[in-house]
Amino acid sequence: MARVFNPPLAELVGARKRYGRQVALDGIDIAVRGGELLALLGPNGAGKTTAIGLLLGLLDADDGSARLFGESPHSLAARRGVGLMLQSAGIPDTLKVRELLELTRSYYPDPRSLADCVALAGLDGLIERRYGKLSGGQQRRVQFALALCGRPRLLFLDEPTTGLDIEARQGLWKAIRELVADGCGVLLTTHYLEEAESLADRVVVLNRGEVVASGTVAEVRAHVSQRRIRCQSSLSVARVAQWPGVRSASADGERLEIVADAAEPVVRRLLAEDAGLSDLEVQRAGLADAFIELTREAA
């Protein structure tokens, strides 16, 4: 194969982690490569935090392995290639943004200049302010700047846009896309599915410590093959619900809503049986539907 060799920057291989009797991760495989954004999705308690903890060397796997740049995550040299934004990170309120950046930059061998950090994270005018005096959204931006100030090859972003307004969120998305385009690998965990849908090259869905789906956004979405069909029609709901390929049908007055395995045969029959049909609309499942379906199936 004439593919450029692109080894994983971070990977879990058969990683298992137990807390007492509770299994947090049940032998999962994850790999993040340069120039790609991997979104780790899953409900609370699915094992996302544990997976990140293993990759950052905060936890040790009971079984299997965690590697950062091919080394143990405990290695300082390996962690120097990593930038991180943790949702749970406490950052000292009394320090100024400039001081926080100066300290975190000192951990890295070849950090970004202060001016670059300010520009990338949109910190104009905040640099001399104390962290504790900033708004929630401004604090998120500072955390993002701290994550990228070391010029990392790999970024861990744990719920990076929680509490941001739409404009700020899109600003951050733009910055993340630029970093990925520059060859940075990103592991993103998020509750916002549209965030994963908009940013991710690949998605891993975790539930109860297991990988229930992984692949591109389109592949994960394809796990849910159903289509949602809406239309104005005089056909009786009870009859439509009996058609082959129809999973369910409901009506709100004249408005029919049908969930079908495949849209085409159902639409063809709808049009054939009701010449007066209008407002036809067909939707494929989004990542959100796939996600709900996948985590429910596994439950």
Partner: protein, 255 residues
């Protein structure tokens, strides 16, 4: 300033900055800095200068200069370590720092350096009050030795603070530290000489690490109870290493 670093990355700058910002954080937290620095001085002025002024003033002032020094540095070590570690454990700061490529031990070393700096300030302020206002006169080597005892004496209490910080929550830590700090200070004769306290307190005083540090400081001003120095150093070393090891285990197990 921002020259490209082409030589191997040095961690020294990180250690330095970590200590600098640890100090700035506490300095900007008046609820820590003011009591830590002012209480020992105020107490010393009150008991060592004002109340003792009448009879045997300089004698009492000499004894209390040594013990209030120990009292003061104990406070900044216990609060600076115990309370800050507990809070940082609670709010995720310790974990975040562990995940960052921070050079090993930088947080602990920074807190230690900070405790020593606060101890140095306390020590100098007390020396000024004692020397200028309370008429304490010591040989130059005694002033220097007292300063050294105060600055190095923070280590066992940093370890005790670390252990407390690894055990209790951030919100409980200040109360818990006071519960250890104030009785221990009283029971080991830091506020008033043990000879003025009931016999059973004087007898049980050697159970406290603060007693042993106070005896070292008192030996410098020639007012100690006569115990051998090696014993005091031995107890302080055991307390330091023991608390540090227990705290390490506890901090590692917490995650």
């Amino acid at each position: 300033m921002d020259a490209q670093v082409l030589h191997p990355h040095s961690s020294l700058r990180s250690y330095g900055l970590e200590a600098k910002y640890e100090f700035l954080r506490l300095w900007r937290t008046p609820s820590f800095a003011l009591p830590s620095l002012l209480f020992p001085i105020l107490f010393y002025v009150l008991f060592g200068v004002v109340l003792a002024g009448g009879r045997g003033g300089a004698e009492v002032a000499r004894y209390l200069l040594a013990t209030y020094g120990v009292f003061g540095i104990m406070g900044s070590a216990l609060f600076g370590f115990g309370v800050t570690i507990a809070i940082e454990r609670d709010n995720g700061q310790l974990e975040y720092k562990r995940a960052l490529p921070m050079p090993p031990g930088a947080v602990l070393l920074a807190k230690m350096a900070m405790a020593m700096l606060f101890a140095a300030i306390t020590s100098v302020l007390l020396a000024v009050v004692g020397g200028v206002f309370a008429g304490v006169s010591l040989a130059p080597w005694q002033w220097v030795a007292l300063f050294a005892v105060n600055v190095l004496g923070v280590l066992p209490f940093c370890a005790v603070g670390l252990l407390i910080g690894s055990l209790v929550s951030g919100s409980a830590a200040p109360a818990f530290v006071n519960l250890v700090y104030l009785p221990m200070a009283f029971l080991s004769g830091l506020w008033m000489p043990l000879t003025m306290l009931p016999a059973f307190i004087a007898k049980s005083a050697p159970a406290w690490p603060s007693y042993h540090l106070a005896q070292v400081a008192l030996k410098v001003v020639e007012r100690d109870a006569g115990g051998p120095l090696w014993l005091h150093f031995g107890v302080l070393a055991v307390v330091t290493v023991g608390c540090f090891m227990l705290a390490r285990r506890r901090l590692a197990a917490a995650r």
